[in-house]
């Protein structure tokens, strides 16, 4: 027996357009949230393989950092250079490549391979000239070491121009200005 009116039937036509939009948005958000939860469950937790890769990557970075920054004496330059070369092949980002060439230059300098320093810094400057000013002194020193006084003078002048134009509280400004002035005078004679 049925008491009251007729049974209710589900019909979208009963809802206003705004209500329909809200409900649609809620459903959409729920779907997106579900997808996100699923993705986090699949990709958010690092797998054993990715942990291993991350550890290897961290170790490689440490090797490079140790060699470049000189945090131990006589680090494994060969391993660090190999790691940098591998990174160079793997990236197409010019800024990152510039950084990697700078790192190679640092390793070469510590090993007394100044022609390699020149090559690497030159390459780095081509890829990203943002550090051209700060690279000028090491490049000038490297040219001095390989006996190219003319190029050394060129870079000392660039360095002087760079440092002398910095604010007075630029760290090391006075030292670099004094150094480059003296070198310009020495090499310009």
């Amino acid at each position: 027996m049925v008491v009251g009116g007729s049974p209710r039937r589900f019909s979208l036509s009963r809802f206003s357009l705004r209500t329909k939009l809200i409900a649609g948005a809620v459903v959409l958000v729920l779907i997106v949230a579900g997808v996100l939860l699923w993705a986090y469950g699949i990709f958010g937790k690092p797998s054993t393989a990715s942990t291993s890769t991350a550890a290897e990557k961290a170790n490689t970075n440490k090797q490079v950092s140790t060699a470049v920054n000189g945090t131990v004496q006589n680090p494994d330059y060969a391993a660090a250079t190999k790691a940098i070369d591998s990174e160079l092949k793997a990236t197409s980002d010019s800024k990152q490549q510039a950084t990697l060439y700078s790192q190679k230059a640092a390793i070469a300098a510590q090993q007394g391979n100044y022609q390699e320093v020149i090559n690497d810094y030159t390459q780095a400057s081509k890829l990203d000239d943002a550090q051209a000013g700060t690279m000028a002194v090491p490049l000038a020193k490297a040219y001095e070491q390989v006996g190219d006084k003319q190029q050394a003078l060129v870079y000392y002048k660039k360095a002087y121009a760079y440092y002398s134009s910095q604010k007075d509280n630029y760290s090391g400004k006075q030292y670099f200005v004094n150094l480059t002035q003296a070198k310009i005078q020495e090499l310009g004679q």
């Binding site: 705004r18 809200i22 958000v29 950092s65 020193k141 760290s171 090391g172």
Partner: protein, 657 residues
């Protein structure tokens, strides 16, 4: 309703958005986001997350964002030039420029590893410590071109003109464009003593004089081990078995931290750890240190040679081992203290002899009483309060000193029956009297009856059991007493021998152990030898009186343990060969062969008695030689003499001498 639905939808959407964002953030990133983005936290002890440790002064914690280079114009020294570096920094320290003075204080104190908040001054001790750390051979000063990572901990000067009213070095982070490219650094590398790569422990960027990075500073230099000191015992003499002693050993070293840091340490005896107090450091930094190990109270139950080893880790150095099997100075001996004990009779040293020539003719009658510097007694006595050990129950008559040999044994006064006891008495020093002036004379040989009246022994071997009748016997030439027989009851014999006698078996009275039925049954045995008496190592019991008569001139003949002079009794021999305690073989023989107790119920009379038995020891009050002047000697007159039958009782009365 529609507004409610709209608002609810918006809230729900926002909640979901936030939830989704939270899931999108990796947990590690979330944590990292709470940490300071730069390198000041932990920089020289700073840990201040809300401020991340940056821009605060090292000495005063003042806050200021900007400042100047730590050393304006930079700090240049030559590669490896430690002296030049020290000179430059100390020049700043004592110079007039407050900026440079602060820089020097900061560099010195941070090189010493001090954290922020330290007093803004450098004491002479700190300066000396700093110099010693730099001059430590494990530290290398390297000036070279390397890079430094951007945003690492840096430092800057807080003071005029940027920060008027301040005078400090603050923490910063390095965002200069010079990071990531080659810069000249003054780097200090430390090579650990255990080996391995030299580690960067302090860095100053030449261009600005700024210390860079969160580095620990220079470690304290390692000391120089001068050597292992001597090992000594307390008390300073070879210990007796079971006696308490201590071992004191040292290691000497100089330099290193002040005060030094002592790590793990050990002390062993024969490779087994022994208790010892923590080693104590004495001395001073300037003159060097001594590390002293003192053992607890030790004792060893077995005689022999023992080896001590000790060692310690001093600061970071590896274990310094001392002693051991190759070090003769680390060995000590534990000895028994064998001693002579006498009951029922006196001990006399310094008596003269009526001596004979080689043929046995008396050529030197009893001498007049005289002093004799060789006539002393020395043995092992346990001292106060019991004075057990070496001594005699009755009196001691000695022409020279009495040393650690008690008279009136058993009493608390070990010199009470010493003759004399009017001088040379110092009981704690073991001096129990001496210097008696009137010794008796031994004239057994002089008073014997003519040889023709005596019974001749049948040969050079004698079994005393073959003596069937009382009387005097005579033998010319060496004689060996063998067979182990007993002297028969009622036999009272005196055997005169003009030669050496070797006693290879016990000589006992037949009924001595079981008891005599009557005084007339008591045996008597006397052996009077013009020559030497060798008592074999296997002999344990002798009954009777044993006399060795020397040749004329015995007073100046001296000792010869390897080949004793006539007039000598040797208490432990290998047949007719004696053990010479002055030779290693002889010592080994004495130690290994002479350990059994020799008990003599009677007397030993000789110019020299070599007491070579080694059994027992003073601390256990077990003698090596035990002479007991038994009643048989005076109840049974020798050679058939008669006891006065009118005696109804015989007893000892004081003075018991």
């Amino acid at each position: 309703m529609s507004k409610f639905l709209f608002r609810s939808g918006v809230l729900f959407f926002m909640a979901l958005f936030v939830a989704a964002g939270a899931f999108l953030l990796h947990p590690e990133l979330s944590e990292a986001a709470q940490s300071p983005p730069y390198g000041c936290q932990g920089w020289y002890g700073r840990h201040d997350p809300p401020r991340d440790g940056c821009w605060h002064g090292y000495f005063y914690d003042g806050y200021n964002l900007y400042g100047a280079d730590v050393i304006p114009g930079g700090l240049s020294v030559a590669n490896g030039d430690k002296a030049g570096f020290i000179s430059r920094i100390e020049g700043y320290l004592y110079g007039a420029d407050p900026h440079l003075k602060t820089a020097a204080q900061f560099i010195i104190l941070t090189m010493l590893g001090n954290n922020a908040g330290v007093a803004k001054s450098v004491s002479p001790a700190q300066q000396a410590d700093w110099e010693s750390r730099i001059n430590n051979s494990a530290i290398s000063l390297v000036v070279h071109d390397v890079t430094f990572t951007c945003n690492i901990a840096n430092s800057f000067y807080q003071g005029p003109p940027d920060d008027p009213g301040m005078d400090d070095i603050a923490a910063g982070y390095s965002d200069t464009p010079d990071c990531g490219v080659l810069n000249t650094m003054i780097d200090f590398y430390y090579t650990p003593p255990a080996g391995g790569a030299a580690q960067l422990v302090y860095r100053i960027r030449v261009a600005c004089g700024n210390p860079l990075g969160q580095l620990p500073g220079l470690p304290q230099p390692q000391p120089t081990i001068e050597g292992c000191g001597l090992m000594n015992l307390v008390p300073n003499s070879p210990p007796e078995v079971n006696a308490t002693f201590q071992i004191v050993a040292t290691i000497t070293f100089s330099g290193g931290p002040n005060p030094p840091v002592i790590g793990s340490n050990y002390m062993t005896v024969n490779g087994v750890g022994v208790p010892f107090s923590p080693p104590v450091v004495s001395g001073a930094y300037a003159s060097g240190y001594t590390l002293t190990f003192t053992s607890g109270n030790l004792s060893e139950a077995t005689p022999g040679q023992y080896t001590v080893a000790w060692g310690a880790q001093i600061n970071e150095l590896g274990m310094k081992d001392c002693g051991g099997v190759t070090d003769a100075g680390a060995k000590f001996n534990v000895l028994t203290h064998p001693f002579l004990k006498v009951d029922g009779g006196d001990v006399n040293a310094g008596s003269g002899f009526a001596a004979t020539d080689v043929a046995g003719n008396v050529t030197q009658p009893c001498p007049a009483p005289t002093s004799n510097s060789y006539a002393g007694i020395t043995s092992w006595n346990n001292g106060a309060p019991s004075y057990t050990g070496a001594g005699t129950q009755y009196g001691v008559f000695v022409l020279n000193l009495i040393h650690n040999f008690a008279s009136n044994l058993g009493s608390p006064n070990p010199s009470s029956l010493s003759f004399a006891n009017t001088s040379n008495v110092n009981l704690p020093a073991g001096l129990f009297g001496g210097y008696f002036g009137k010794p008796p004379c031994v004239d057994y040989w002089d008073t014997k009856q003519p040889v023709a009246n005596m019974n001749a022994l049948p040969g050079s071997n004698l079994n005393v059991n073959s003596l069937n009748s009382s009387g005097d016997y005579y033998h010319s030439g060496n004689l060996t007493i063998v067979g182990g027989g007993n002297v028969k009851d009622k036999v009272r014999a005196t055997v005169y021998v003009n030669g050496d006698v070797t006693i290879k078996n016990d000589i006992t009275y037949a009924s001595a152990a079981s008891g005599w039925a009557s005084v007339g049954d008591i045996s008597s045995f006397r052996l009077v030898v013009h020559g030497r008496i060798f008592i074999d190592k296997s002999v344990q019991n002798l009954d009777g009186v044993y006399v060795a008569i020397p040749n004329a001139g015995y007073q100046t003949a001296g000792d010869n343990y390897g080949n004793p002079n006539a007039g000598t009794i040797v208490t432990c021999s290998n047949g007719s060969s004696t053990y010479d305690p002055n030779t290693p073989a002889g010592v080994n023989g004495i130690q290994s062969q002479c350990g059994s107790l020799l008990t003599v119920y009677g007397s030993l009379i000789a110019n020299h008695i070599f007491l070579l038995r080694t059994g027992g020891t003073a601390s256990s009050n077990t003698p090596a030689e035990y002479i007991r002047y038994s009643p048989e000697e005076w109840l049974a007159p020798p050679s058939g003499g008669k006891v006065d039958t009118s005696y109804q009782a015989i007893t000892g009365l004081p003075p018991v001498l």
